[in-house]
Symmetry: C2
Subunit: 250 residues, 2 copies
């Protein structure tokens, strides 16, 4: 590990970077996962490394949607597990949601390592393991298309922090509500998802948990009202305007 | 290598990503180099993965500055060598400039591998090798502070594609003209350098070569005029406005 001073203005970002580099050394992540993390770093930097007002609105709508879900499932890839395994497990517990592993570059070794991470963080059951039964999500090919019959396959709402565009599109096309956490408001995933939280997942997942605890007292009608008043396209535009302002001001 | 279809809208970017991942496997790059590449990818994506008009203006001023230099030196790190060794060598040849290796996370093995890359690309002499003599750039610590007495130390103009903020600042503070190629117009390096080319170096270095060939016929006075009319702060603002427009339009 490289030493990082807590006084560094971008301390938190540098700590996450080291965490990712370490996870790569341990074989949890593919090399391209590090590059993907770098892209996230850049967008987070542009957003000032803090949760914006539009992101908070999306978190509220996402919380209501998850609370209304019949079968909510959290789809986890390597980066999500490395960055936020404990929060994912807390969120799953709160929602009685299942956790399913889905890796872009799937290898049996990495699946085992991601499962270990989730178990260590307190997950009791993890779907999507090697040897687990699976059906294919229509429109996808290869291991990414895997969906567990009791997991993503039957879910009505899927939370997929960090997803690639093809899978996000295929999940939406299969009739599911897809909630994503994506720092790039222009990505295909961000543009396709039902609800896009333009934020860093290490901030967004704890905020989702907090918001969900707050909304737990709400009636079904009140939750439905919150979902209804949320417009994802409009929300993404607000994020884009914030970014535009950031560059203009500079 | 993962297979990439030439029809993919972001084919060039994906090819570079694979090149970086491969170079990492070969031990040429540190893990954090992949993350840095990801940050670059994000900014290049924001810029539409093409050279902008402000970047072209910076390339013109940089070319004139390099042609006017008494002792131009090109400072090369791992990512630059992996992405553009051949173009760096061509540029050095055109300018009779020396090439000096300077790595952020320097290890003897990586220095040797970067040297091999440069030699394979046609470099006759490379400075900054293990065991090479060196003095320290004031204000820097550790191996990054290394400057070869016949290289960066005595240079009046240093071209440093991809540089960290500390070293860019220290080089400017030591009285050198610093030309950088940095996709993030808000980075400390971009803000500190004498001339900042906000572009991907795989596009910018060939354009520098092309521009230099064009300007070779110019008189000293004409070149000085080109340098004088260039304002780096204004040029960076133009890049920032372009990015702001990009997000606003979306």
């Amino acid at each position: 590990m490289h030493e990082i001073s807590p006084n560094h203005p971008r301390y938190h970002s540098l700590v996450l970077r080291e965490k990712m580099a370490q996870a790569f050394k341990e074989g949890i992540l593919a090399d391209t996962a590090l590059i993907a993390h770098g892209r996230g770093e850049a967008f987070d930097y542009i957003l000032g490394e803090k949760t914006s007002l539009p992101a908070m609105k999306a978190i509220e709508a996402a919380s209501a949607t998850l609370l209304l879900a019949k079968i909510p499932v959290i789809s986890v890839n390597g980066n999500t597990a490395v960055l936020a395994a404990e929060d994912v497990v807390k969120l799953a517990h709160l929602l009685s949601a299942r956790i399913e592993i889905n890796l872009f570059y799937r290898t049996p070794q990495r699946v085992v390592k991601v499962e270990e991470l989730l178990k260590k963080a307190g997950a009791k059951e993890v779907l999507g393991k090697e040897g687990d039964e699976h059906v294919s999500v229509e429109g996808l090919e290869g291991p990414r298309s895997r969906a567990h019959p009791q997991g993503v396959h039957q879910a009505d709402v899927v939370l997929v922090p960090l997803e690639d565009g093809d899978r996000a599109q295929a999940l939406v096309a299969s009739g599911k509500k897809v909630i994503t956490i994506d720092l790039n408001p222009l990505s295909r995933t961000a543009q396709t998802a039902s609800i896009t939280i333009v934020d860093n997942l290490v901030r967004a997942i704890p905020l989702l948990i907090q918001e969900m605890k707050k909304l737990k007292e709400c009636s079904r009608e009140e939750l439905e009202e919150l979902v209804k008043k949320f417009d994802n396209k409009e929300n993404i535009s607000e994020s884009l305007n914030l970014i535009a302002q950031h560059f203009k001001k500079s």
